[in-house]
Symmetry: C2
Subunit: 285 residues, 2 copies
């Protein structure tokens, strides 16, 4: 009997498609596990323990690094489709036949693709701070994102105050609390993603965001019950993209939290855990 | 000690501005009461007891008929501004210095106007199935609304199955449950609104919805924490209007429920009660 948490769960490994996938698994076993898909250049350590431990109270949560990232071997592919295929291979290598998936930002693109290509493997979907193919402002980084990622920060972690939170006093205060939680795990942290990761991921994001005809048609094939969540004013992937996702996914529930940016799930961690738990616990169908 | 419910609360009367306002008041006293503003041609009996009684568990709820409607005397004004002024007079006549307001559809227009003109009287705002001034498709009834309100129904109540619910089997089943609840109160029901009501209300709706420059600017003055709720595909007041409201109200939280139309609060009555209760119970500020 172990009762690991975000801070103590050991990094484990499983092989699939010639890739050694690093993952951590903790929480209440016995139900449908929830697999987390992280954002651009993120690792398992980029999740907020208030979110992961909160959700682990009622279900098993699985964090992992996709191919080529941090403690996982292999190369980062240059398309979301290949990233999703790798994620599916990882999940199946764990011997799981049904999971829920949560994707944040770029991880939300992977989660969409996973849900569509693996309709029996994926039961329910949570899409946070993300958008559809050819979404508004998604053909390249938004001007705001270019400015934020191009700036220099005295403390490198402070980058996240601009990426995830609004300039309001309340949001920034929530951001500083998040940064403390973000560094709580001190032992066995993941190495940062190497310098090849960002380039490959940007190429994949560019292909996903490129303009195309009837860009949202593919969402009709996303048949799973889906919860779409974002902040009121996301400057990294504009909030309107969450509305577009919800309007085009057949069975989707939308939540936009007030006065919040790309990291609304960290700003409102407790409310987010409550909303996601309720959604995942609903009777199927 | 009384513990009235939606079914048993007696209709009471209070006078203001020469109008005899009919109202019902029940639930847990002692906190900030929640004042309900009903939709086009609606009376106190048009609320769903699952919603009103659900919210009454933790707070006092106040239903009322605005001027000229059903058991309330006077004339229906031909502007939302005058309707809101009448609602404010009613609330003050009850001796209340602070309330939360919930507005559904046309009631949501009144609630916005109330919040803006009475910033100290109104603490928090819940806007359901509604939209901003000059909202999309709001300069007249939508084509779908014209078709639905123009049709003939064998059982007149069945109109609400089309107004409030989607054509899906699940939504229609929820609709039939709603219609049972809608007729549960058998004693002391309100008389239906008379034949002059619809005309005056339509005139007010037309003025509100008319195109104007920078139509959403006025929402910056709505400073109260606001919860905006709607169905995924509202055909009476298009769902995009809920998104527009949330994007333009400074401190607003948006929820769009899946597979639901104008009456999402009735389709998901229990979830709606949970969401509204949590919102109203949050620490102020």
């Amino acid at each position: 009997m172990t009762s690991h948490t975000h801070q103590t769960a050991p990094t484990q490994y499983v092989s699939a498609k010639g890739i050694q996938f690093a993952y951590r698994r903790f929480g209440k076993a016995g139900g449908v596990p929830l697999v987390f898909n992280i954002h651009f250049t993120g690792t398992m350590d980029h999740w907020d323990p208030l979110v992961t431990d909160g959700l682990a109270k009622d279900r098993e949560v699985i964090l992992f690094n996709n191919a080529g990232i941090s403690s996982t071997s292999g190369e980062v592919p240059t398309s979301i489709e290949e990233m999703a295929a790798n994620a599916a291979a990882f999940i199946k290598a764990l011997g799981l036949s049904q999971v829920d998936v949560l994707g944040f930002s770029m991880g939300g693109l992977i989660a969409q693709e996973l849900a569509i290509t693996e309709p029996t493997l994926v039961r329910r979907v949570v899409l946070v701070g993300t958008g559809p193919r050819s979404g508004e402002g998604m053909s390249s980084l938004t001007p705001e994102a270019q400015q934020i990622f191009g700036a220099t920060y005295k403390h490198p972690d402070d980058l996240w105050l601009d990426v995830f939170f609004t300039p309001s006093e309340k949001s920034q205060a929530a951001g500083r609390e998040f940064l403390k939680r973000f560094r709580l795990r001190t032992e066995g942290r993941d190495p940062e993603a190497n310098e090849k990761v960002a380039g490959a991921q940007l190429e994949a994001l560019g292909k996903w965001g490129a303009p195309r005809d009837q860009p949202y048609e593919y969402l009709k094939a996303l048949r799973q019950p889906t919860l779409v969540v974002n902040g009121q004013t996301d400057v990294i992937i504009y909030s309107v993209n969450s509305f577009i996702l919800q309007q085009n996914i057949p069975d989707a529930h939308l939540i936009l939290y007030p006065d919040s940016n790309h990291g609304s799930l960290y700003q409102y961690a407790e409310m987010f855990v409550q909303d996601v738990s309720r959604f995942l616990s609903q009777a199927h169908g």
